[in-house]
């Protein structure tokens, strides 16, 4: 529709202004800070240092370590979330027994506060008082250091991420599955296509755009992971599970190294943008193929 009325500005501007002032402007402020040497403790006067903060960070092995950790947690957990989520969404779309009950209960984890989830996970994974180790011992497995040994700690965090965010994948994929047209499947039935063929020949290609979007959203979101780790391991043991956000928090809030933290958060943004672009570039041929 083509109608023009100056009142349109009244509708758009409040939201626009709030986002501009509270989300966009701090970004600019932060970018300006990232080129300064700025410390609160001990207070030294601000000094323009150009890209020194960035080069410092890029040569800091701890930065690359946190990038690797974050990427590892995020990509592994999203892969599991997608496979499990797709399977469950299919089962729900095909009206498995008890579908109404499952549909509501499966949603719950994603609405639980991550900090609460992390506290519960800590209890379950506790070496002496938690149920998991007791059950494992009962079946003859050794008592495992779920949160205190680097690889196990990463695995536990990924398990918690899968627990919490698979519901999101289920929610969106189920909505997508319900929107698929029936006639294609009817034709496939006439052709006697097996369910396996139907899935790879029809369902999967038709779900590709939404799958791509879901994976994209999940990867971007899980790159921001902080609350779960903050409570579960605090980045430990050592810095084995330290993610980018946690690193920035440590630098900014514990050391009050403001310029450095701002530079760090911009590099973080750069990493996210880089991964998004690579992802979209990798996916493009497939998306076009099935268009």
């Amino acid at each position: 529709m083509n109608r023009d009325d100056p009142v349109k500005h009244l509708f758009l501007w409040p939201a626009f202004l709030v986002v501009l002032a509270v989300a966009m402007f701090p970004l600019i402020y932060s970018l300006a800070n990232s080129m300064m040497s700025l410390r609160l403790v001990p207070p030294i006067p601000a000094r323009f240092v150009g890209v020194d903060n960035y080069t410092d960070l890029l040569t800091n092995p701890r930065f690359w370590q946190t990038v690797r950790t974050t990427a590892f947690i995020s990509i592994t957990s999203v892969a599991f979330q997608f496979v499990i989520g797709f399977a469950i969404a299919l089962a729900l779309a095909k009206r498995v027994r008890g579908v109404d009950f499952f549909r509501t209960t499966f949603l719950m984890p994603m609405l639980v506060a991550p900090v609460a989830v992390a506290l519960v996970a800590r209890q379950i994974l506790n070496p002496t008082m938690g149920p998991l180790n007791e059950i494992a011992t009962f079946f003859g497995f050794p008592n495992l250091p779920y949160l205190t040994q680097a690889n196990w700690a990463l695995g536990s965090l990924i398990a918690v991420e899968i627990w919490q965010w698979t519901p999101f994948v289920i929610l969106l994929l189920l909505a997508g599955l319900q929107g698929l047209p029936d006639d294609v499947y009817e034709a496939a039935e006439v052709e006697n296509a097996s369910p396996w063929q139907q899935f790879w020949g029809i369902t999967f290609p038709m779900m590709l755009p939404i799958s791509a979007a879901v994976i994209f959203i999940r990867i971007v979101e899980s790159f921001k992971i902080v609350d779960t780790i903050f409570v579960m391991t605090g980045g430990g043991p050592g810095v084995a599970t330290e993610t980018l956000t946690l690193f920035a928090y440590q630098e900014g809030f514990k050391k009050f190294n403001l310029g450095y933290t701002s530079a760090l958060s911009f590099l973080f943004l750069g990493v996210v943008l880089f991964i998004s672009l690579v992802y979209l570039a990798l996916l493009k041929p497939y998306l076009e193929k099935y268009k």
């Binding site: 349109k8 970004l27 402020y29 506060a113 991550p114 609460a116 008082m129 900014g252």
Partner: protein
Amino acid sequence: MSVRDLTGRRRWLAFAGCCVWFLFTIFPLYWVAITSLKSPPDVVNGPTYFPFIDFQPTLKAWHELLSGIRGEFYSNFWSSAIVALSSSLFATLLGAMAAYALVRFPFKVRLLSGVVFFAVAMGGFLLGRNVFGISPAMASILAFTIALALSVFLNRFPLPGKVLVNDDIVFWFVSQRLFPPIVVAFALFLLYSEMGKLGFKMTDTYLGLTLAYVAFSLPIVVWLMRDFIAALPLEVEEAALVDNVPQWRIFYGIVLPMCRPGLIATFVITLAFTWNEFLFALFLTNSKWQTLPVLIAGQNSQRGDEWWAISAAALVAIIPMVVVAGLLGRLMRSGLLTGAVK
């Protein structure tokens, strides 16, 4: 996709798979619920699993929590509730308004004026703080206002370069979700503390936290509401236009009531986000307006192994959202979210 429900063995396989996932999903929730009912010895002497069978449930932890023996709790609960509810409400309303404008009216923003905003805002801030020695908060407010005014003014002229239309503006909103919140949370904390030095307290206030939450919920609200509003039939609005009903009355009297299910879904999703949000609350509040997630995160170091008390506190944050999950499940059944993902 409704063709052919599963049959025979596959049907049972799918059911078994769902049951396994259900157990995985429900176990942590079951565990926190029963732990909150345990007495200290039942926790410390190794895990116990079933109330009345291997431990005797007690309401001691709940009693201690609700009577406030273990430190302040109500204040966090109320600040969480007030901030979450009101910021979701504002975000849904403002977002719906913006989405309506973006669906029904054409907008043109010249890319160059956006660049001017960026350059003037950043340059002005640096100039004001480092050269003229104005306080950072004052410098940023000035730079922001001047940059905004200048770019709005410039937008009136036929500048060279790309012209951004409605879809680009929606993309601009949504792209905010791409930014790691730590970038903004930290900068916002600095800006708020600078404003505090000017005598305008923003950290640990209702306004400060709510504003941040509204700004961070808006992208998703605009994105969701745009689809809901675009799905509405035009005829009703056109009929009202012919009758010379003013635009704002069309919006509040016709459009909003018509997309009520979409509004509810959006509100609920935003509420879940704001209720659970941790990072902004951690940065921007410290006592009076501290929210539940921050309180709960702190339990760990404060209480050590007092799991009965920790579990009760965690449940207070979990239970409202379980209710919300039921509501969302019901909305999903009516196929409401189908349109939103296209």
